[in-house]
Symmetry: D2
Subunit: 457 residues, 4 copies
């Protein structure tokens, strides 16, 4: 808590007006210069603004979520150079502590035409829930009757890619996009509505740290070239990045591959809490926050990471978790199999199985006095666990979603009493934050929703 702060932010200022010596960035590129450097073993603190840079407000309308500018995300603090790190090393980053910079956070679902989410075809409108933090706990006026402890973590943390790795990313993601509509398209496009399919490099909204940014003022000579090829931060990749793994929390250690001299570690997208999958996409309890870190280098250690693929760069970080995670003792668990909402059979498709488990859970829990949108938001941010339970029993993958019973102020187990409650039509008194032009009517599954539409230019 009292380690020196390496990078500070001011949450009252725009992302592009933070510390001019240590500006933020929102793209991955090897040429974005480090803004600070640390020695091995040094303990330091890094502050981060929320991933949208303050676009979402603590109020009761979801219009800000609906109109969010996604070209700007995610705002990251860094890169931080670790003095002795060289390509081929393994960088051990110990997450010694984490915290919030404000006493509130938000969870939202994007509108289907601006971001979407795992269940956009069921819940196409933007919604929002604001959460108040009370120390380690949080509550929301928009989803009454639940309370849980946060498992604070960075949704996004990673090392900088080398040029070779960046080129790999851009090539494969473009190919995915290009295949759309050609008959070669892979997998889930026909049944999982998400827009866009991938997020290719996009100079609009690019903030490139010391190279300058999209808003105003002088840019470095290389700005345009870098912005044109810098990777978006949306997906997790070989460098870690936006993995949204809720278990990267207090006391854990992450081992990152090092692709560039100094490793150039960046991080952001702080979450007060998240459910496995972060299903609503906007998604965890998003907040501004801080991390306390220590870095160590295992020289030549990248060879400990297995390369599975055509390139020696085809690796992924690994991490250790310790005894500090909250441990609930009682869960209600929902199953899903890969048969879609139209009744069609898919083949060992864990994504669809999880979609089904999440839907089963939403519709089940909504019976206890909630709207489906409230449960969708809740599952995105509460400490629920998504499991790949069965992945070989053709043709059905089985996924499970386990929700801790202790987060509810009522008994949500199936019982005769629950049936009576259902018959009586009990509802929770609540205000929900929705788009201003949305009626309160239930929104049915939209089987005709356009799917896998490429990014608008």
């Amino acid at each position: 808590m009292v380690a020196p702060t390496l990078i500070s932010v001011d949450v009252s200022k725009p992302a592009w007006e933070q510390d001019p010596e240590k500006p933020l960035h929102n793209r991955w590129h090897p040429d974005i210069p480090a803004v600070a450097s640390v020695k091995e073993g040094e303990v330091f603190k890094v502050e981060c603004i929320d991933w949208t840079g303050g676009q979402i407000k603590n109020d009761d309308s979801a219009d800000d979520v609906k109109g969010v500018d996604l070209s700007q995300v995610h705002y990251l603090s860094g890169p931080i150079a670790v003095e002795t790190a060289e390509p081929g090393d393994l960088l051990k980053v110990e997450i010694l502590d984490l915290g919030a910079l404000e006493t509130w956070g938000f969870t939202g679902t994007f509108h289907k035409d601006n971001g979407g989410g795992f269940l956009t075809d069921h819940y196409p409108e933007a919604t929002k829930a604001c959460w108040d933090f009370e120390g380690v706990y949080c509550k929301s006026r928009h989803i009454p009757g639940v309370k849980f402890a946060g498992l604070i973590h960075p949704g996004l943390i990673g090392t900088a890619p080398s040029k070779e790795l960046l080129d790999m990313w851009n090539a494969r993601e473009k190919q995915l996009q290009d295949e759309l509509g050609t008959g070669k398209q892979k997998t889930l496009c026909s049944c999982l509505a998400t827009r866009p399919l991938a997020c290719l490099p996009e100079p609009a909204g690019a903030l490139l740290g010391k190279l300058g940014h999209f808003k105003h003022g002088a840019k470095h000579a290389s700005w345009a070239a870098v912005a044109a090829e810098a990777a978006r931060t949306v997906p997790g990749r070989e460098n870690g990045g936006n993995c949204d793994i809720k278990n990267l929390s207090r006391g854990c250690a992450v081992y990152f591959p090092v692709f560039v001299p100094g490793a150039n570690l960046s991080m952001g997208d702080m979450h007060f809490s998240q459910g496995d999958g972060e299903v609503s996409f906007c998604g965890a309890i998003e907040m501004s926050g801080w991390l306390e870190l220590k870095c160590t280098v295992i020289k030549g250690g990248m060879k400990l990471l297995p390369a599975v693929g055509p390139s020696p760069l085809s690796v992924n970080p690994l991490f250790e978790i310790g005894p500090l995670e909250p441990r609930y003792s009682e869960y209600l668990v929902f199953e899903g199999i890969c048969v879609d909402e139209r009744g069609e059979q898919h083949f060992l498709d864990a994504t669809l199985a999880y979609k089904r488990a999440v839907l089963n859970c939403i519709k089940y829990l909504a019976q206890f006095g909630y709207t489906e949108e409230q449960i969708y938001l809740l599952l995105s941010c509460c400490p629920c666990e998504g499991r790949l339970s069965g992945i070989v029993d053709v043709p059905n993958a089985v996924a499970t979603l386990a929700v801790p019973l202790a987060i509810f102020d009522r008994d949500v187990r199936p019982s005769g009493t629950a049936l009576e409650m259902l018959a009586a039509g009990v509802r929770v008194e609540t205000t929900q934050a929705k788009e201003s032009d949305v009626t309160a009517a239930a929104i049915p599954y939209d089987a005709k929703l356009d799917r896998c539409v490429p990014c608008a230019p």
Copy 2:
């Protein structure tokens, strides 16, 4: 432990020569008669033979796995009628205790031409590991240096389908098969080698309880008709079934939809332990075992289960887990994203992401003195957890695989010491059970392996 035994088995006899009053079955069909009935609240014990009916032996050759007759699986005990259960009810089944009937079990990987598995394209040969049970713990002479406590559970437990539900299953699974090669194929066929794509009804090998069986003797008049349409037991479906959920263990309660009068509960495929996903397919530590159960009926309770799909039958069971699961405190966690081994980008594909996490783990742990086949077997049966960590960050799904450190007798965390061990080429002294015609050479990824081949007639 001393509850009355409702159904007994004799592990020294073939599956078709068990108690003639309470014969086993290996297909799902509403017309398979119940062999026993219980009252609500009654505590009773059910014994089950292993899923293959004794085809696999406790020896050091994997030839039995290679040649296994999969048309016979899974051998189930039941159906058990619950006296007051009617269609539309919810059947609560409390799993009060479980145990083994013998002191050993097995884990195997099927040959690519007979069963396959999650990683068949990497590990196409049959392998086997036999496990010795010492009370709650197990060890294997084929994978030395690991020991863990079992989390005994039925891989397969479910209620009987109604005719309407059975028809739904057969229609959709046939459609999946039929689409293969038409350009409409939906799925992972292009990147996930598994044979077959689905298991359609197949009279060969059918054991239909009191209706008779494939082996010999008199069959009921309806045998041929039922065998021609009875569903295979391979996948989990709306009735539960072969969900292979490792958490259905001591002290848990499962809520099943009831589709036929009496519910007609069946179960089998007992596992001493399993990892999430059961990746090697043959897959957990398979054994003969027993369960102690209690059934309760929530009248009309099926309406508590959400129907998501075109039919009101499109539901899934849910279950509760309590404080009895083993809780490890330290894990090493592997990440995977949905980029395949050829470097191609897929779209939010959790199956591929998990495949990648499993591969990363196999190749990482193999460095500590194991063959990759040994780790593949181990991950299929040890208490590892597979998580759907991120499912919205286009285009990459992120899956994680968490392995408890306490199961190893050595420190498998990344470190300088691990690097030195790698350099020194340390290997565990071990005998592995493989097919008799396989050389010890490492088997490379076979990118050309035929994929998604339909069942042979």
Copy 3:
């Protein structure tokens, strides 16, 4: 589960009519011959009758508890010789599994004139609760509204003492008894009513295995001499013995000092569940049960155990616990300090502090619809934890008692609602098993109760 049974019992027969080849015993003495022997590494099963030898019945009267013959306890299975064990070795006993032999057990409080208990001065009458086992869970018709999973363990397990150690025991326990009333008496006698103060050797009731027993028939020539000096089994001592540690459960390993050739391991007093302290003395959920064990010898390992005291024999066993204990996540915790019920201050007395914590808990929970006797019984046998929280802050020791909230079917946390319930005088409908001559009136604290009375001759 299917390991060979080394020692069997028949719960329908008296303790002195069990297997004549492997008779039971209820005293500690080096000359009691081993009834069986095992090799290192062998897995074997041992059955045990309940500690009273069937004196307590599954009915609704506590008269059997009131009149119990305590000279007979505890009936043990063994001694079992471990082939290579020699004095000076350390015997590792792995508790591989455990189970019940019947589907019920009992918890009682002894009458103040026959056994007593931790709170005899508050609850002087005999009471009893019978528990029904449903697999891993138990419930009692005498204490409705609670349900919990058992943590089966042997209340008593230990190695045989050498003659030298036996003499130490007898000398020191006699001295304690002799000091009573002399002004030298140690510590708690003035404030903790228990009868007797110690249990010195007593031929009445002695069952000495192959040397013969008190009931009838031929006794070995040495019977009288051995019975006259054989130690009673009531307290835990240097050899382990009746330590009543609830954590000696599934998957744990105990390291015992070896005092005689073969170690001569004995065990009994099986508990389905127990709370820390086993406060009611009769005390856990007592039952007949079985253990599955494996023994290993660490040659010369007794020197690893520290001898603290005048003799090199002044050691205690140690043990390991693993990840298999049930883990509750929410507890209500009661504090106690060492001020007695008369308001007198004691000095760092953890026994009194714990007595106060237990009393606080009893009186608190009784407000939720129970009698105090019911809660006293419950705390003796449910999985509650007793902690020595502070032991240095003169003059008060602080002890805490943590009760898992999940065992209750109602919310027992302090709240305005709880206050209303208290005001309304809500009570649970229940039958309690008490002595036949006891009225239902509340029994006040008896400050004049005789304390520390020596054994009757």
Copy 4:
């Protein structure tokens, strides 16, 4: 983290020179005025200096521990008035978060002539270990080879006593002191060396908040009278106070009785980590720290707390713990029985049983390369658990001490390897902080040490 700070401290200043508007206090008395007030439901932060007020330094000598002025302890922040709280209410204090104000803390053992400790008769000299915090973890240069996560908590938190309660305290503690040497002494004085027996009111060193302090300057007219009867803060009592319960940590809620208008809550003695019992007395990892709190009042709720004793004030707080505690999975557990180091038998004495368990553990672990003093310090501050395992098996109480294996960088389980290490005399390279006049020689048990000496005037 960002809640408003109600009371601030400056760790660079003496205790008596903190915020003059909100001065600290180190005595309990109803007339010490509140320094701040809060509304129900308000979230606020309180900072506290370490309990000694900065007397102990981060260096390698234990001379500061040896010469510490104990008349000054414990320095508390508060009293804080809760607006609506009245005598007879129950005050719910939620501990929402906690943290350190500096990056180091200390553990010490007091010299036998100045403070003593649980094992003063074995380890009479002053020692010290300084700990460095790295986020949630800590390490000590004085005890190498161990690392663990903190479970930060206030060693001391409580409400103000009423005059009636204060008088009860003073009377009973004086009586204890007065009985010493009269033959009526109750307790452990004959076997547990501690000085003093109790800490009676003592104007020297008294800091009385707004009434003034011992150091200098103007005192309130009532200062002398209040100082003469204000209770010392050493023991836990009916108001909570110095209970040193390590589980009062993140996310827990404590229910305090209210004795005076406003409740007047005070707190201090922040611990980064503590073992059950805090055996070395100086004892946890002591530090300056902060708490984030929320208070709620249950009107009339004190009647929910059972009064056990002659006065309706004879109550104790209770508390709830949730899913946030670190959960280790593997422990090594030491047993102790109430036979003292001279071999004398005591009667159900849990204090002695725990003393023996702690000694057994110290001497066992010291074999792995430590001095006994290092382990004594470690057990006082690491997350070990002290249990009252058996409290009824006359004459022996059984206490257990469970130490998590994961805090050590080596395997400390009993084994042949451990024996070899012992034979080889392996020692850890370490500097220990001891008194400057102490030799490194092992210090034997001092059976003749004066015991229970009253406070010097």
